[in-house]
Amino acid sequence: MEKPSTLISHIEAFVDSARVLNQHAKSVDAISSLIKNDLLTLEALVREMELYLTSTDHIIRGRGTLLLAEVLNCLLEKPLDSHTISILVEFFTAKLEDWQVLWGVLVGCLALLKRTKKFGMVDNSDARTLAKSFLINVQVQSLAVRDRKGDDLVYGICEAIDEEKDPRCLMLNFHLVEILGHLYPDPSGPMASFAQDIFDILSRYYPIYFTHPKDDGLDIKREDLSKGLMNAFSSSPFFEPFVVPLLLEKLSSSLLSAKLDSLKYLNSCLYHYGGKRMVKHSRVIWSNLKDVIFNFSPERPLLTDELDVDMKSEVNQIRMEALNCLETALSCFDFSEQDSFLCLIIDDPDIGTKLESLTSITSYSGTSAEIQRDLSAIGGIFTSIAKVSIYCCNKVFLKFFPCLMDVLGVSRNHSSQFCITNHKTVHGGMNFGALFLSVELLSSSRELSLVSNIAAEFIAESKSWFFMLKSFSMDLCHVLGSVLRTSNTSMVASEKEGVLCAVKGLQSLSTFPSSCSPISEGCYEDVLEILMSIITGRSDETYLWNLSLKALVQIGLWIESASGHDSARGICYNKVVEKILSMLQTNDSMVSLSLKLVAISEIANVGQYVLSIIRALEDAIISSLVACIQGGLKSSDSLVGLLECYTSRVLPRCCTSGSFDDVAVQFSINIWNQLENVSVFNTDVTMQNVLDQVMITMKLLVAGCTVENQSLILKKAHCVILSMDFLKTQPFQSIHGIIALSCRDKWIASLFGSVVIALRSQTPLTDMKGILNLFLILLPEGNLPAAQALASMVNKCPSSINEPEISARLSLDQACEDILKLCLWTLESNSHLKQYNFLDRDICSQRSIVLGMAWVGKGLLMRGHEKVTEIAMFLMKCLVSDSNEDITLQQQKENGKGVGMDANSSLATSAADAFHVLLNDSEDCLNKKFHATIRPLYKQRFFSSMLPILLSSIKESGSTSKKIALYRALGHIISDTPLAAVLAESKKIIPALLDTLAISGSETSHKKIVYSLLLVLSGILMDDNGKVTILENIHTVIECLIKLISYPDLMIVRETAIQCLVAMSVLPHARIFPFRPRVLKAVATALDDRKRAVRQEAVRCRQAWASIASRSLQF
């Protein structure tokens, strides 16, 4: 080992800045040769230099650091271990903060980064932190030291990013260059002089070709890199002489992604470099863009969204980007440059000849794809130009619009008479090309008028696009109208396009800002007339009809947004709305009711008409409702349709406009008035549909109201209740016994139930006692709304009442007590509650009570009231009680065997299905929409409390019929509870679940349960803990699934069973292997299933199970 003294002398020689340069070089050489020959380790060197590296004198520190850096620079080919390297990197990274020694640090960093893999390289994470620190420290500070270090810095960065391949570093590098570009905008600065070098380095990456595996954890995508490089390219205008030729060269590449990138880059460069630098390229840019636009335009310019756009999305993107470029180019040039560029485009002979050929074609049906593509390309170019500025728009209008009009046969004069003077419009067929292009120009000029303020003098100017458009507009409007008139019902694609174009043109014409509308009021009216005539007269042409309707809605929305200064047009439009609404009254066969309703609900999009539309709908509904209940309506379908449209399409719009409450109160009270006034109802069977729909409407109306308004409606409804027919014989407060409901009573009761269902919990129920009593009488009669209303009452009723003065209100506990009287099982005959004896009732009323109790139980369960257990016990009693069999025996004696069996099983079945009601979310009541009180996790709670009870009673029950009912109940509980809760109990569940499946599998009426249970089973199969339980019962599970493969009633059960088997094939092989032959044999029969989906699933399953051992199917 070299003596420390000589080493120190070398170091000192270097650190002393007074010595001459070659002495410095000598000492560096000497030290590095020492290390190269292993006479000195780097670590020892650093240790010796400690004093110099940490000295407080920044000159000595700087020299020391530089020495270390220089030495490292000489050791590029000396193998170093990774530990040493990472220590050095850490050192330099930290030292980057120390701006006084920056030079040395930079040299050191470079030396380290230059190391190649062979001799030990800086690893990625270190490089990353270094680069980060570099960015943080150097960029900011280099501003201060720019004069001294500028060149070095840029040069250093050049070196640093050279040949970098790691995507993370690349991202940083690109960012670095971007910052450099912004840092040195000076033309004599370092960036200007190094531009070519930097570009040389960067250009190698272009276009980004990135094949990194997807999940390398770096999370850098090709798009990110490409964007980074784009920003780097466009950061400094000094790149311009190099970048633009490269981009234009790559633009002609056949690779789509390269093309797209080039266009994006070009766009960004145009924007950032500015017009001055780019103007010399304008000719080349245009010719390149032209190629792209003409080659990549869609073949069907208008109907592209009907073809699958996804497949051609890249092509489409390229086109969009090229058009964007064109726009950017035009807008970034100065006036004179812009003018010359514009002339370049619109005077382009290619466009001229293509336009000529396009406009001379008489029929566009069956034209080649190339012509279609040209058409959409030219349309795109026109649109882009016209959008840029008023000047550009003027230019392109002046050049092309008159000749397009000429082709369409539109004369410039204001003669309202439309005359076909031009020979080119033969056979009444319009030239589609001219039509398309003029509509494109029209709509882009409209867009321009929206963004730019158009001065008055400009309008008067005779060379402006506006003046020209105005002079043609009247006739253009008529031409478009005639296109629509002559279009025939059989819509081929080309015909469709013509229609679409014409409608679009009319829409654009009538939606210009009012300050610069090219059409007169009269013409505006004509447009609306044309569209309306289609709505009223041509409803059989669906495509045309829908387009016209959409256009009308858009025009309406436009008026609304510009209302105030456009009132004349508003009045015009009012007439349209009136006409559409009057269609409701007239009973013409031209337009079907459903289409009328579509039109109305679409027009309701225009906010200011919602109220008048609602009013008209309400009138129609009320008049046909009255006709319906009086028996004067032939079919209830139209009324149901009206109600549906009202509730689902128009009413929601009301909510957003804030007028809901008024509308709802008015309409619902109106309905109640009608019920009050009509004394005898029609008893047609079809009435039930109407009643259901009216109930839904009533619920929604009430649910949306505020508490005060709900009280109003409730009060009205309560009044009507008192006029019910059966109340003529007994007073409301003390109704009892079995009552006979007239049809009118049924309506009133049901609608009253609906009102109660939809009330908010804060809304006070006046006369709660009476209402409760009424519902309690109705419930055993099988009135479902009454049961649901009761459930809502107990769900929302406040648990304690603070205001004792309201004596009519019952406490929740009292209400529950009253209700639970219905479930009293057997009573002493002398009890005063004898009338409630459940067992004395007939089977129908028993079933109604069971169902009603289920609803009430649901109401209690959702709020978490403990009384629900009583109802659950009642249901359990119905399921298993011995007296149940007593009834059977009795009835068997009375009615004969068959009926008795039926009745017995149906009561048990009702009780089992009651659990479904208890746990299933309902659309009709007790949900968020109808303000229910919902306690979290109520299903889970009920599940875990009921499960042990059910399981034990299954164990105890002897007869099979009882077992079937119990299993049915269990099935409901399992399948309606959220899977997570079931999974937690999977150990207990699985055996019972399999038994249920086995028993239910033989009954047709259970097929829904079978399916939902199967879904639970598959859910358990997907869960890791569940799999363990499955494995414990594997034998039964597989037996059960094999049985279900041939389940005859429901295809989806067979399919799911096979899917479960597929899922089971990944369980541990040792456990499932014994079942392989059985499964394969069973699945083989499913290959012959009636349904294709099952067959395909069977093939998959067979494959999965066969491949456990080998692929051979021989076993």
């Binding site: 290959l1087 294709r1092 093939v1099 067979r1102 494959q1103 692929r1111």
Partner: protein
Amino acid sequence: MTLGMINANPVVHAKRERIIRSEDIHSDDALDALDVFDSVRDIKDPEHPYSLEQLSVLSEESIAVDEKLGRIKITFTPTVKHCSMATVIGLCLRVKLMQCFPPHFKVDITVSPGSLANEEAVNKQLNDKERVSAALENPSLRQLVDECLYSNELYSY
């Protein structure tokens, strides 16, 4: 097995669009030619990373199904006249059909008339039960068949 490829540069055709069958809840879905075609179209050619459909060895029209009689008849066209791979292709088809369809179907696999030099011999071999099962017990042949059936390295153009 063979030196060099039998057909080194085959013509590749476009895939046909997959037809998604509409679900009809109430009626039975009878087995038809498209079902059979769907199950065999993606079998890989033994030589190339293309499917039989892409090489036009098979098409929906070359398959006939009679569900009542329980018969499936497939006629395929090897890419070249002297293709020694025809037997392997036939074997693949048979294995695939055995997997996908119930055993009561009688499957006939033939090369289309005039497409192969030793047409008769190949047809005989393909429909000989003993020879098929013997071939499937040959490990290397079995491996080749499995590669064709379960390959997922198909090029898609």
